[in-house]
């Protein structure tokens, strides 16, 4: 580029003024943003007590822990772990189903093409949003206060936090449905309940089924961790073994979780394709 004749460069300069003469604000925007981002980062490191000595000491410790994890070994508690894993899967399945059953009627109230008035729809949507803003673990703690320690609290925690997510997803699916079929039902003299049952549901249910399956899959992951606060399942065992520093059991439990998640992934993928065909899943 350096050998380019000056005349040529001038001509280019004249032809593309907005590339050669960018205003200072445009040129400075990206570096300024990066600088601010780095500044907050540095402040964060300082404020959160990061120090190289702590980092290296911790990494050293982590290295030891990793060495002690090998080889993974359940000891004599394999049946117990298998039972806990079953409990985790049960929590995921029940919690998701309960959430879907509760969310379906509520999502109708949050959908624009069913409830026309903004005034009625707004509070429902905000309500669903605030439920979603609270993490599953927090719901688990709350439910433990109400129903006591155990897997039942986990089921209810997953049900409540997914209720928020499902309400939003279902209402979006309903809004995306084709209105022509609903109009057809209305034209043949159907009531508004008929419109929902025969016009909307056949379009919406496959989408909803796909989403529910996807959530069962992702809830298997959530269900593994709610045990950490005492809501049953394999997380309870995992947290306990970490606390008593039984690293070989810890690594075995982590492996079990990975295998279970992969298995559920595979099964629900198959089922999803069976239900909605080879259509893309949102």
């Amino acid at each position: 580029m350096r050998q380019m004749p000056a005349a040529n460069r001038d001509e280019l300069r004249a032809r593309y003024p907005d590339i050669f003469n960018r205003p200072a604000s445009a040129r400075l925007a990206t570096p300024a943003m990066l600088l601010i981002a780095l500044g907050i980062f540095a402040f964060g490191l300082f404020d959160l007590n990061f120090s190289p000595t702590r980092l290296f000491a911790g990494l050293h410790q982590l290295g030891w822990i990793t060495l002690m994890m090998l080889p993974p070994d359940p000891g004599s508690s394999l049946p117990l772990y298998l039972k806990a894993l079953g409990e985790t899967l049960s929590i995921a399945l029940l919690g998701t189903t309960l959430a879907a059953v509760m969310a379906l009627p509520v999502s109708l109230f949050a959908a624009r093409n069913i409830v026309r008035s903004n005034f009625l729809r707004f509070p429902v949507r905000r309500f669903l949003d605030s439920i979603r803003g609270i993490d599953t673990l927090i719901w688990a703690l709350v439910w433990i206060n109400v129903v006591g320690l155990g897997p039942f609290a986990g089921v209810l925690a997953i049900a409540v936090s997914d209720f928020g997510a499902f309400g939003k997803l279902f209402s979006e699916a309903i809004e995306a449905a084709d209105q022509k079929e609903v109009e057809g039902i209305r034209a043949s003299g159907g009531s508004s309940l008929h419109e929902i049952r025969f016009g909307l549901m056949p379009q919406v249910l496959p989408v909803i089924a796909g989403q529910v399956l996807y959530y069962i899959e992702s809830n298997t992951r959530s269900a593994t961790i709610i045990g950490i606060v005492g809501a049953g399942g394999i997380g309870l065992q995992l947290a306990e073994q970490i606390r008593v520093l039984e690293w070989q059991k810890v690594s075995f439990l982590i492996l079990m979780i990975l295998v279970a998640v992969a298995a559920i992934d595979w099964i629900s993928g198959k089922l999803r394709f069976a239900i909605i065909g080879r259509r893309a899943v949102v």
Binding site: F43, N49, L94, I134, V146, I225
Partner: protein, 294 residues
Amino acid sequence: MTIAVSVLPGQQLAALKAAYRKAVARKRLRFALGAVLFVVALLVAAIGAEVNLRTLFTYFGNFISYFDRILKLDDGTRVWSNVGEWFWGWRKWLRFLGETLLISYVGTLIGTVFAFVLNFFAAENTAPWSWLRFTIRRLLEFARTVPGIVFALIFVIAFGLGPMAGVLAIAIHSTGALGKQFAEIVENADMKPVEGVRATGASWLSCMRFAVLPQVVAGYASYALLRFEINVREASVMGFVGAGGIGQELVVAIRKFYYSDVSAILLMIVVTVFCIDIGTGLLRGRLFGREART
């Protein structure tokens, strides 16, 4: 208005009707089979999770009354009648909320940097060696499948109690999730610019810098912002295992039945999450807006 509806002769019609009935019956049978399987699975799960429907209904009343209780002050009045009393600890809670935001910010940034470095090696079309791609893909998969809070539990033991463990846990989880998403963006990028740059004799690094990066950087920023939003939620519970942030205060309030504190802290978390959602939404809109203009 008269409409002529042609009716097929009886024999032909009967055959069609029989075929229709058979098709519907087969569909119904499949549906019924699926439903029965599902219900059986639910029953098995219900036994496994010690669920009892009758207790659910009694407990549901307790759940509602729990919310009634957390919205009452110690003297029995509603919380909003005395906001000063309700938010008595707002200074402390705001500091912990700030710490939560910082944890998720620093964690997301570290995760983004690692994901940025690794994703070119994990994407099908840019990885220089396939054995490296395989290794990095498995590593990323591991980092995102193990829940963040499990990493936090282990890191609290290795690095000591405090926000550092939370930051590192979030960083690892974000590396796994973002690495996959970034690699998917790179796989969707147009390879013609890469060929053009390579034709000038450029190295692999220059190819990435001048041909791939300009196509994908807006997508990266968008996913990183989305991840930040998710991590704020995640960081709010890191305190449960002693890894810093507002979770510490919340878990103490819930476990010790400080009812009005629970509602105050929950409200602060929800409002913060809302603000972050809206803020990152606006920012992402601007990023994509700029992309559309050029």
